[in-house]
Amino acid sequence: MTASNPATPQPDFIRIEGVTKSFGTFKAVNNVSLNISKGELFALLGGSGCGKTTLLRMLAGFEAPTEGRIFIDGQDMAGVPAYDRPVNMMFQSYALFPHMTVAKNVGYGLKHENMTQGQRDDRVKEMLGLVQMAHLAYRRPHQLSGGQRQRVALARSLAKLPKLLLLDEPLGALDKKLREHTQFEFANIQYKLGITFVVVTHDQEEAMTLASRIAVMDQGVIRQIGSPSDIYEHPNSRFVADFIGSINMVDGEVARVEANGVEVLCPTLGEPVFVAPANSHRQGDKVSLAFRPEKVAISRRKPAAAINVLKGKVLDFGYFGKDSLFRIKLATGRVLSVNAVNTARMSAEQAVATWEEDVYLSIAPEAAMLFGADS
């Protein structure tokens, strides 16, 4: 097996330059530019209909871009048909050939490789071993479970050792356990074979656990590209902040600018909130104050901190084992979500708070984010 050397980084292994795909007047993919380096596990994340599959199909060669260019390993892909591209795709529907056995499915692409029959058989065995399907090599697809089919589809797309592997919602049909197991398998395979992966998903948790970098798409446009923590902790827009994880979003206005931060006045919070650092906000700017539920501290007693403390009543809460989610109603009527980790072996109502109890919320200045009203 030829594993690529991870010591030779190729930052522009895949270059997508200003690619647009129009269906009639509708732009399914709109002026997307993005670089993916060799051996990377890259995720395309976005809601339904945002153009993820269309972008993937252009990489595979099933659709031609209306505008823009795609380079794979330095080669311009314009006019290169799907069968000549160093790319393999695992289809959302698996697309296994129903009239062939598992082994024939996996070996199908090898007919076109310059190999002896013995080498082909060995490769099929190796791939089936990799996805733990060797014992079912002579079954037909209709005799397999959904998870088994998915592994066969993966083995088939890996068999030719493509430079680039495209996975379209590869785990969509699996249960949570099998999903987590397969996510590790993907990471494992990617590490072992050094293949570049592009994974399409609408599940942000899946993208976060799988990928080294994520592109968040919306209506054909890429809104942000970054590592999972970049995108979660430093979203560049309201849209991304809202799309990834849950968040409290409150409209307000910058009341005062200081050297180390700004004070924001939000009518629905009642109290001013201090946010650090100041960035480029100016007094009077209309902004959205955003903070994630787990970045808020909740307590029965008034905290020592003098700033960013809000008082409210427990409206409702849900117990999830390792943590609990509280919905806190402020005096103004505004409801905020707050996460509390259940560190003690007590029920959440004993440990943190219970219905109708008065509680204090405190937000660290560094934990809150500000977005311009137009982002």
């Binding site: 069968y83 289809f91 697309a95």
Partner: protein, 304 residues
């Protein structure tokens, strides 16, 4: 209200009646008459009405009819010509119909409806009328014959040139008109089959390195075998027993089985022989079908 209807439906045994009725139909109008035909084939001809009788003594039946059937060159020849004509017509229908069906499935939705309509359109004209139209076309003075003749004359040496091609009253005419008449029976089941195929399979094969014709060979063709068999049977079976086309455009010296049956029943008033030929025709159609089913079942089991 709905479930009350259902209870009543179940209690009264109506369900069984409805399920059984097609079978009753088959028994009454296919099996029983066919048994009568089989029985008749073991009788002898007689000058009475109906014109057959059984032997007066045990075992009451005779096998001479079948003996004659399998030794006389007339019947064997008719059988061979029928198989040959039906097989050639089926293969030609497949070669013409497959690309048609494939093209229809690849066409846009509204065009698809129009094309299907065109396939069915000939049925709106009487079958007999269409055969007579072919008789007109094949005559030596028709534009069709003249066009074919001049095309033929272009490709052969001068000494072989013809003033006109003899098409009427030949086997060629029989096959030609059968292909024309039965083409929709090939196209429609093929279309139904091809239309259901998942086109992402084609994309998957292309993604794995196959060119268009390899995708066709490896994916589309094997997955359309059920459609090919259905269309093939729908053409081959009626073509084997075809009576009207060979009677109108064929050569009386090369009769097909249907024509022989008609002759025996009609002119010769040899009902036992007509029955025996009918039984032989049915066996020729049923035995290959049963063999196919047998091997198909075996292949299915082998895959499991």
């Amino acid at each position: 209200m709905r479930s009350a209807t259902r209870d009543w439906f179940n209690r009264r045994g109506w369900r069984d009646v409805i399920i059984a009725s097609p079978y009753l139909w088959l028994v009454a109008f296919f099996l029983v008459p066919f048994i009568i035909v089989i029985v008749m084939s073991f009788a002898k001809t007689a000058t009475q009405s109906p014109p057959f009788a059984f032997l007066p003594d045990w075992p009451f039946i005779r096998f001479e009819t079948y003996q004659r059937l399998f030794t006389s060159s007339l019947y064997i020849r008719a059988g061979a010509i029928s198989v040959y004509n039906a097989a050639v017509a089926t293969v030609l229908c497949l070669l013409i119909g497959y690309p048609m069906a494939l093209a229809i499935t690849r066409a846009g939705k509204s065009l698809q409806r129009l094309l299907l309509m065109l396939v069915i359109l000939p049925f709106w004209t009487s079958f007999l009328l269409r055969v007579y139209a072919w008789i007109g076309l094949m005559g030596k003075n028709s534009w069709f014959n003249k066009a074919l003749t001049s095309a033929y004359n272009v490709f052969v040496p001068t000494s072989w040139e013809l003033p006109g091609i003899q098409m009427m009253n030949t086997n060629f005419a029989v096959v030609l008109v059968m292909v024309y008449s039965y083409l929709p029976f090939m196209v429609l089941p093929l279309y139904a089959n091809l239309e259901k195929l998942d086109t992402t399979l084609n994309e998957a094969a292309m993604d794995l390195g196959s060119r268009r014709w390899e995708v066709f060979r490896d994916i589309t063709l094997p997955l359309s075998i059920p459609g090919i068999i259905a269309g093939g049977l729908l053409v081959f079976i009626p073509a084997m027993g075809e009576l009207i086309i060979p009677s109108l455009v064929g050569n009386a010296g090369d009769p097909m089985i249907g024509r022989v049956i008609q002759q025996e029943f009609g002119q010769n008033r040899d009902w036992p022989m007509a029955s025996a030929v009918a039984v032989a025709l049915l066996l020729m159609l049923v035995v290959p079908l049963m063999l196919y089913n047998h091997f198909e079942a075996k292949a299915q089991k082998g895959a499991a």
